[in-house]
């Protein structure tokens, strides 16, 4: 106990010894180093219509909300967990829209959980998210395991970003930058490399359905990336079945995707208002702090006037914080039921998808066993 208190005293004294920069403080939601803001970004489109082999399907996994495990640290970090959970579903959907707008990719889907067989999979973690700044860590890797992106992206909102225009977003440049980086990376890959990604994806998927039948088609190289060692015949009936099952699976995923779109549509007005009000409060507080710091002292130290001035400054600052809390509560009251509803629907879809999977797998294995004369795999 004493050592804890001693640590507390030292921490307080350290705090007294200097004051961190305001930017540092405002972006203290994550321990990850802050990146430079992306600035103004134009969405790059592919030159010409992309070839079929380049139209990789993208799986966008809902983001890690980046909520610290220690609940005691949430208020200090200015993180509102319910809002973060909603953002974890909202932000990937927004990124999906930008990727779709480029018409540079195949199907772009928001996935409730990672899918190792996706042709190109994007995962993200929210580092900082408030009305003034958005910072997310994005990792993109293709089915072979090749890493396309693995970095943090940051964007800052400006006054003219609010109120948010219909269909707009204060951090749209961040999403455009991610999209541009993905496109840049893809354009560096050869036709053969892109075609191999699709092969690996399909064969991995096939192996997940029938490990015995598709074992050895894809194995890791020295660097751990998956490479195709051999290909089944183009008219292989098993492969045709796998493709059909995969398409069937996409039907389910597209249903889940619709739920995320519903969340996006219903959450957008509230979320934009939350960010706008949050930013205004933060700016007001910052300016207020500056005004108070520069204000002349009233009365002699120890008099009522002097003490009242000190107390009122503290009191106003607390009221600002509590306004933000109430704003968050207003957001939760409005959006939390939608998040729960959507998650419930997605969960039910996953449940039925899983049973469908199992059924398909059993059928596939039976067919395979009948065709090959091998004993069916348990």
């Amino acid at each position: 106990m004493r050592s804890l208190l001693l640590a507390g005293i030292l921490a307080l004294l350290w705090g007294c010894s200097g004051s961190p920069d305001k930017n540092e403080a405002s972006s203290s939601q994550s321990s990850e180093p802050q990146t430079v803001a992306v600035g103004d970004v134009n969405l790059r489109l592919p030159s010409g219509v992309p070839a079929e082999y380049a139209l990789l399907d993208i799986g966008l996994v809902i983001f890690d909300p980046g909520i610290p495990k220690d609940p005691a640290s949430l208020s200090k970090l200015g993180i509102f967990p319910e809002i973060r959970k909603a953002e974890a579903r909202y932000l990937p959907y927004l990124l999906r829209r930008v990727l779709v707008d480029t018409q540079a990719w195949g199907a772009v889907r928001v996935l409730p959980k990672p899918d190792a067989t996706a042709e190109l999979q994007l995962t993200g973690k929210i580092l900082v998210s408030d009305g003034s700044r958005l910072s997310v860590h994005i990792r993109a890797n293709d089915a072979s395991g090749r890493v396309w992106l693995d970095r943090a992206y940051t964007d800052v909102a400006r006054t003219q970003d609010y109120p948010v225009a219909l269909g707009g977003d204060p951090y749209i440049d961040l999403y455009r930058k991610i999209s541009n980086d993905l496109l840049d990376f893809r354009e560096k890959l050869s036709q053969d490399e892109l075609a191999r990604i699709r092969d690996v994806s399909l064969l991995q998927y096939a192996a997940s359905l029938s490990p015995d039948a598709f074992a050895g088609f894809v194995t890791p190289d020295e660097e751990g990336n998956l490479v195709v060692r051999r290909l089944p015949a183009e008219d292989d009936p098993m492969l045709g079945r796998v493709q059909r099952i995969k398409n069937q699976e996409y039907l389910f995923i597209d249903n889940a995707d619709e739920q995320y779109q519903e969340l996006y549509d219903r959450m957008t007005p509230t979320y934009n208002l939350w960010r706008q009000n949050g930013r205004e409060l933060a700016i007001y507080k910052e300016e207020y702090e500056e005004r108070v710091a520069n204000k002349e002292r009233e009365g002699r130290r120890g008099t009522f006037a002097a003490m009242q001035q000190t107390y009122n400054a503290y009191s106003r600052s607390k009221e600002h914080d509590q306004d933000l809390d109430e704003l968050a509560q207003g957001f939760n009251n409005e959006v939390a039921p939608t998040v729960m509803e959507v998650e419930g629907k997605v969960f039910r879809l996953n449940g039925s998808l899983e049973s469908q999977y199992n059924e398909w797998r059993a059928i596939l294995r039976s067919i395979f066993a009948l065709e090959t004369g091998l004993p069916p795999v348990e």
């Binding site: 007294c16 609940p71 710091a293 009522f304 107390y311 503290y314 207003g330 409005e334």
Partner: protein, 235 residues
């Protein structure tokens, strides 16, 4: 938000912080002894009859300061002692400083109504016409928060909930919440300390539990639609 003060004179502030924190390590337990928290939740209204009279408290304080001054001057007959004088000047224990302390305590404890919400790890005391006191308690330590305008700490001291605020310029405030045995009475002892007065000023405010009138309407705040109210039956 962990932001340390920028432009305030901090030396005395930090000294007070040290004294305050080191005092914790000596006498006080930081958690409810039974490992259980006392439930303060509910609506409370001030009972003026049982609360302290500010004038009486001020008189007591002045008498105490005068007694101390007299004792000290008797012990130091040959030494002039302007610091303990109860004059109108600007020195230690001056009249304006002592009265200022009482005025501060009165101003801080004006809220007639309190609304306390409490969970396993958090308590929030909404006070009429001023900011809410809130505390998160995880484990047996005081939660401390630094803001540019003052440092806060809070936690359990046995069955009492303590909120402490260390303000710049040598002022500190403590609210000690104690629930009566029946659970129907709440005592909030507010102590204001100034480095210009040698004696703290404490004001007890007593609150009685009450049930707010039922209007049949239940409201919640939303961002896009403002306050949304529904009749309770339809919920």
């Amino acid at each position: 938000m962990m932001i340390t003060p920028k432009k305030h004179p901090l030396s005395l502030f930090c000294l007070l912080a040290c004294i305050f924190l080191s005092s914790l390590s000596h006498g006080q337990k930081l958690q409810n002894r039974n490992g259980k928290t006392v439930d303060f939740s509910g609506h409370w209204e001030m009972d003026y009859a049982d609360s302290d009279n500010i004038q009486a408290r001020l008189d007591t304080m002045v008498r105490e300061l005068q007694r101390r001054a007299a004792r000290q001057s008797n012990g130091n007959m040959n030494r002039s002692n302007s610091s303990m004088s109860m004059g109108s000047g600007s020195g230690y224990n001056s009249g304006p400083s002592v009265i200022g302390l009482a005025q501060m305590a009165d101003m801080i404890t004006q809220s007639q109504l309190l609304e306390v919400t409490q969970s396993d790890h958090e308590i929030k005391v909404k006070r009429e016409q001023t900011f809410a006191l809130s505390c998160e308690f995880y484990g047996d330590y005081f939660q401390t928060v630094e803001t540019p305008f003052g440092n806060e700490s809070c936690g359990w001291d046995s069955h009492q909930m303590l909120f402490r605020i260390l303000l710049p310029e040598g002022v500190s405030i403590q609210h000690r919440f104690t629930l009566g045995p029946s659970g129907e009475r709440l005592n909030v002892a507010t102590t204001v300390v100034s480095d210009r007065v040698s004696y703290p000023f404490t004001l007890n405010r007593v609150y009685n539990r009450f049930e707010p009138g039922k209007s049949g309407i239940s409201c919640e705040v939303t961002l896009t639609r403002g306050k949304v109210c529904t009749t309770e039956g339809s919920k």
